[in-house]
């Protein structure tokens, strides 16, 4: 038997539906309320503009004592996101606090798309390109966005 869903998760899910964050959606699975399908739009003015990125998000049993687990499903050219879609973001690791929420985490991820940080790389190859030739890196990111992150009709 599965434990009843904590009030916190119920409330967070409700609020994500009633007060969605612009450019972000998070939909729980019918058969697993701890597993969410997430989409994040590339921020305007960034090299991911126009792209819609799919992510998966999972709330572990001891959430919110531990952070949600989240990764990109859509391929993305970004120095802080590796080939498996794992994200290097401090609030998902050491700086996690139980007062943060799904909403704030997704906003941080959207912000990370707007401000790639090659100094703290997860994807070494991309980070190197970003440092050696930023124009080229941005061009690649745009191309990948066109190639992999086009919104489905």
């Amino acid at each position: 038997m599965t434990a009843p869903l904590p009030k916190r998760i119920i409330k967070e899910t409700e609020r994500l539906q009633t007060e969605p964050v612009p450019g972000i959606s998070a939909q729980p699975h019918d058969d697993n309320a701890r597993y969410f399908d997430v989409t994040v739009q590339g921020p305007d003015g960034s090299c991911y503009e126009g792209g819609v990125f799919n992510l998966e998000l999972f709330l572990p049993d001891d959430y919110p004592m531990t952070p949600p687990r989240i990764r990109f499903l859509t391929r993305i050219y970004h120095p802080n996101i590796d080939r498996l879609g794992r994200i290097c973001l401090d609030v998902l690791k050491n700086n996690w606090s139980p007062a943060l929420q799904i909403r704030t985490i997704l906003l941080s991820i959207q912000a990370l798309l707007g401000a790639p940080n090659p100094e703290d790389p997860l994807n070494e190859a991309v980070a190197k390109q970003w440092k050696d030739n930023q124009a080229e890196a941005i061009k690649n990111a745009r191309e990948w966005t066109k190639l992999y992150a086009q919104p489905k009709e």
């Binding site: 916190r8 612009p22 919110p64």
Partner: protein
Amino acid sequence: MKFGQEYQQALANEDFPKEWRESAIEYKHLKKCIKKVHKELQSLGLHPDTLRRMSEWVGDSQPEHQDSKDYYSATAPTLSSVPEEFAPQLRVLVDGKTGMPLDATLAPETKSALQKLAKHEMMSAGRRDYLRIPQPPSNHAVRRSSVVSVLTEDIAEEPEDARWVQLPLASAKNFYDMLEPSVQELEVLREAETAKLEEDILDLGDAVENVVQPVREGMEATRKMNYRDLYFWREMFRLYTEKPIFYSGTEARRGAFTFTEAKSRLQAYDTKLREIGLLDQMKTPQARLAAQQFLDLNVKILRIMHFQEMNARAMTKILKKFDKRTHLEGNVFLKDIGTKHPALLTNSGKQGQLQSPGGFANSIARDLNAEIASKVLAIVPQPDDWDCPVCYSMAWKPVSLGCCKSVYCIRCIIKLQDEGMKRCPVCNQETVMKADGRNINFEAMEFLQKYFPMETRKRQKENEKAALVREHGEAFVKPGCAIQ
């Protein structure tokens, strides 16, 4: 139906107070004024076509004049505004020596008319203002006494010697003089009505306070009754906040609703209340009375919004008409009016632009929405206001760590300690491990017991159960104070 008719009919039929109607925008008269502007322009030889062509010519800047771009863009036949005393004028650039207009697209008769005017002005000596900055003038005195005033640009070294001719447009001034005081009156009306409604809101606050007041000393007999009413009011206000009537503060949409939206939202709210029969269930007559007072207040706000929004639409329409008929830029008026009455542009996106035609209705919606929230809704606290930031259940028993104002439930603090998470989840200071019985927030505890008797009892049971489960570990009991 034409807007003008629609507007007059609505004004007459909507049962607005007489003094409101007297402040309304005089759409019909303004329309007549536009006709006069049109005539005046024609008498100056400036046909709408000419004006339009002049605007177009200035619009696409010509490459050979790149270096004097500012200068040329300033030749646009625009109405210029003077902050202190607004007087619409037409400005045309003429050659400094001959008085010939430099705008090649002017009709010949216009040219000769302007030439005459300019020469006349040059002869009346001593009237030379220097236009040093080629930006549209902002601080020139308007001399309405002279038919034409010439502003000479001191540009002897420039290839072209040119000067400005300003044509004060008496009829356009009349138009403005009629429009502006109406807006002024609408603003006065906004202030007066907002103040009245704020009084109403304060009265209502007192009434609500009286009926939901948690049990006082010696009043235990009526305790049950009051608790019931407290919960009815809470539900009534929760529904009100969940789907706000006048103003939305969510991330997706921030701003006032239009009158039509607000009206249907209020209807939906009213229907909902009837469905669950909240008003009928209220125990005391005072409670029912206050509830009716609350609904009436909303209707009153809706009515002033309606009136203001209609007027704002009339203003937008008449300015559009002005543009269309005269090809002078009426938005100069709007800019000027907007500077004088910033509340008119509450909902606007870009500066000086009406995004939704709500006018003063928007600021009324915003201000009174905030007023109701702080003076009435706040009297009945909602359980959400007392959610523990970690588990999102009521923070019972309430614990404060002393580092910030956050109030946690005791269970979550115990859990954080068990997990060795030292930092306050909200402010990040290392205060968690030091917490003990002395961190119970007794003030909050008393408050919660008063306002949430049912919720606190339920949470207390949950806590006791959780404590039993945890019993096998160490107890959260520090010397001197037993918590559970």
